[in-house]
């Protein structure tokens, strides 16, 4: 077992554990903070697998933007923060489905790959991905950007309604 394996296992355990805590806790804000830990651990997994850019994007977008958005939504809609009794529901259906899916997938993948060594690709550095996006695929990338921009403008126009 190499150092990378140990790190992968440890980060995986952190991700799964904090993921479970997200759904088990009945404090909404704590759930959001556990989500930060969970997503951060996943970013760590990417780093160990040498996918540098994906890891930082994960931190920026998911840990940064998405969780902040979530916490803001909580803050704006349920101002008195604390234990939410309505979140305290029986856990067993979720446990069966989540546990079943998780164990099932683990068995499936373990069975499929056994002890096959999968060669690791070249490290996903920012340079490599930048080259792919801004040289090879620059046209689709730019077209997509314009499409997203026009969708954004369109959404604003539609939601403002007719004056």
């Amino acid at each position: 077992m190499t150092g990378a394996d140990v790190l992968l296992l440890a980060l995986g355990a952190v991700a799964v554990g904090s993921g479970a805590l997200v759904v088990l806790t009945d404090h909404l804000v704590r759930a959001g903070l556990y989500l930060v830990v969970c997503l951060g651990a996943v970013a760590g997994l990417y780093l160990v697998l040498a996918a540098e850019l994906v890891a930082w994007v994960q931190v920026l977008i998911y840990v940064g933007a998405v969780v902040v958005l979530l916490l803001f939504a909580v803050m704006l809609t349920r101002a008195p923060i604390g234990r939410s009794e309505d979140l305290n529901r029986p856990a067993w259906p979720a446990a069966i489905i989540g546990g079943g899916a998780g164990v099932g997938l683990a068995v499936l993948l373990a069975d499929a790959y056994r002890w096959v060594e999968v060669a690791q690709g070249p490290p996903g550095t920012a340079e490599l991905i930048g080259e792919a996006v801004f040289r090879t695929w620059v046209l689709p990338f730019e077209v997509l950007s314009i499409l997203l921009l026009s969708a954004l403008v369109g959404a604003i126009v539609v939601s403002r309604g007719q004056r």
Partner: protein, 510 residues
């Protein structure tokens, strides 16, 4: 840096898809620049012309058998046939959508973003002309369906799935009457649909894990030759099938169907019942017959159980319905079961009979929903079955046509319903799937009951005060209804016209 090489694309073969996408984009531009007054006529003409042009191109290359765009698309017999079928059925659906005589302004809401029940909503409900965006949105959906039945690798298939699903979610929310019901239907469809898409995508990931590629030919080779444990491949196929069976409305992935069919504007319901079925079964056929045909011994029993459940549960629940659109929805679920029997019959016979069934059912269901749009009172369509009592006395012609359609659904000889059920069951017998045929025949008998109940109600009850009048249909609905009924009769009397076509087209390329 290596030179970029443009992939070689057989533009003639993919022309129908390009025409539809191009017309859809043009429709968006029309929406921006053509004055409001003229938009409806321009958009409807554009949509009909584009569909017609696509159909003409499909017909001119009926004998094309190629894979193109680096193997991402297969334009072969089934793809060309199903594309033609989708275009013809879409043409009829567009006629239904374009109708503005029945209700001032058409079946669609003028401003979907206005809050239901607000003052502005009451003002717009009165007379404002309906949204004309529905035509470009439908064109996008049709183009996505054309792509879906020709997709030769799983990723292209996924993209096509999203391209035709997203417009459908939107269309469901645009009913002019009972807007909350319509929006609820759209939201349900959207949430469950994205769930199903996620299943499909997860299936793609697992299959890729086993095969190392996503194109169907490689999957076929790997399934036959790989000496690894195929559990991963089975799991991938199971998840893929869930995603596709959701779109076909097979039990146990059918729960969205009645709510969505009831809530959506009736022309859109007709469009979904006819065209989405063709597209979804087209993709299912391709995945099962091209990619996974080596595993047919393994998946046939499981999908067989799904087919039996679909037929029986669809038929039994149809008996309990009191709303005409929900009844047709459950009948559509049961019909998905019969289609699955055809799919599982495997071989050329199975393929040909399934394709015949899709077209025959599509025409009948379009005609049925066309009648549903006609039976209405001041509050819109009269959906509740009790209000159809005595319709035969009030307007014998419409009631007669509807009776004919219902008899076709029930599978009475001399209608296309009989021929298509017979073809599917015969193919299944030949394929050795007798148990499916037994379940199919039993469920057909059960399913005949709700149809006949409606017929009896229309002709043998006395009309009450609640019986609505039948509106005089405009030219467009008349045309749609006439085409639907005529094809139901024609395919029942002279099925060989279409059967020869499907048999000739029943071979996939890899």
């Amino acid at each position: 840096m290596e030179d970029l090489k443009a992939p070689s694309i057989d533009y003639a073969a993919v022309a129908p898809i390009l025409i539809l996408f191009g017309a859809a984009c043009l429709g968006v531009v029309v929406e921006a620049f053509v004055p409001r007054r003229a938009r409806h006529a321009v958009q409807l003409t554009l949509a009909l012309l584009a569909t017609l042009a696509g159909l003409v191109v499909v017909i001119t290359q009926a004998s094309t058998r190629v894979t193109t765009a680096v193997g991402a698309l297969a334009i072969d017999g089934p793809a060309v046939f199903l594309q033609g079928a989708i275009l013809v059925l879409a043409l009829v659906s567009l006629l239904l959508m374009g109708e503005r005589k029945l209700e001032p302004g058409g079946a669609f809401v003028p401003q979907a973003a206005i809050t239901v029940g607000s003052e502005a909503d009451e003002r717009q409900a009165a007379r404002a002309p309906g949204l004309t965006e529905v035509y470009p949105i439908s064109l996008f959906a049709i183009a996505g369906m054309l792509l879906f039945v020709a997709a030769n690798d799983l990723l292209t298939m996924f993209i096509a799935l999203e391209v035709f699903s997203l417009p459908l979610y939107l269309l469901c929310a645009l009913a002019r009457r009972r807007r909350l019901l319509s929006q609820e239907a759209a939201l349900k469809y959207f949430l469950l649909g994205s769930y199903a898409s996620a299943f499909f995508l997860f299936g793609v990931a697992l299959v890729y894990g086993f095969v190392g590629a996503v194109d169907l030919a490689s999957i076929h080779t790997a399934a036959a030759e790989s000496d690894r444990d195929p559990l991963l491949l089975y799991a991938g196929l199971a998840l893929l099938s869930i995603g596709l069976l959701f779109k076909t409305a097979a039990v146990p992935f059918h729960v969205w169907t009645p709510d969505v069919y009831q809530g959506a504007p009736t022309p859109v319901t007709a469009f979904m019942a006819a065209c989405t079925k063709v597209a979804a079964f087209g993709a299912l056929l391709r995945v099962l017959y091209v990619g996974f045909n080596g595993l047919s011994w393994d998946f046939t029993p499981i999908l067989g159980v799904v087919a039996v459940l679909t037929m029986i549960i669809g038929a039994v629940l149809a008996v309990t319905q009191t709303d005409i659109k929900r009844l047709l929805a459950y009948s559509s679920i049961a019909n998905a079961g019969y289609l699955l029997v055809g799919v599982l019959a495997s071989g050329e016979r199975g393929l040909a009979s399934t394709m015949f069934y899709l077209v025959a059912y599509g025409f009948s269901v379009l005609a049925a929903f066309a009648v549903v749009t006609l039976v209405r009172d001041a509050d819109g369509e009269a959906g509740h079955l009790s209000r159809w009592a005595g319709l035969g006395r009030r307007s014998p012609l419409i009631a007669g046509l509807f009776t004919f359609i219902l008899l076709a659904f029930a599978g009475i000889p001399l209608t296309s319903g009989f021929i298509s059920k017979f073809a599917v069951f015969a193919a299944a017998m030949e394929g050795g799937q007798t148990w499916l045929v037994i379940a199919g025949v039993i469920s057909s008998i059960v399913l005949a009951f709700p149809y006949l109940r409606v017929v009896v109600m229309m002709w043998l009850s006395d009309p009450s005060d609640a019986t609505p009048t039948v509106s005089v249909p405009g030219v467009l609905t008349t045309a749609a209804l006439a085409i639907g009924v005529a094809m139901t009769l024609l395919l029942g009397v002279a099925p060989s016209l279409l059967l020869d076509l499907t048999t000739g087209a029943a071979e996939f390329v890899q």
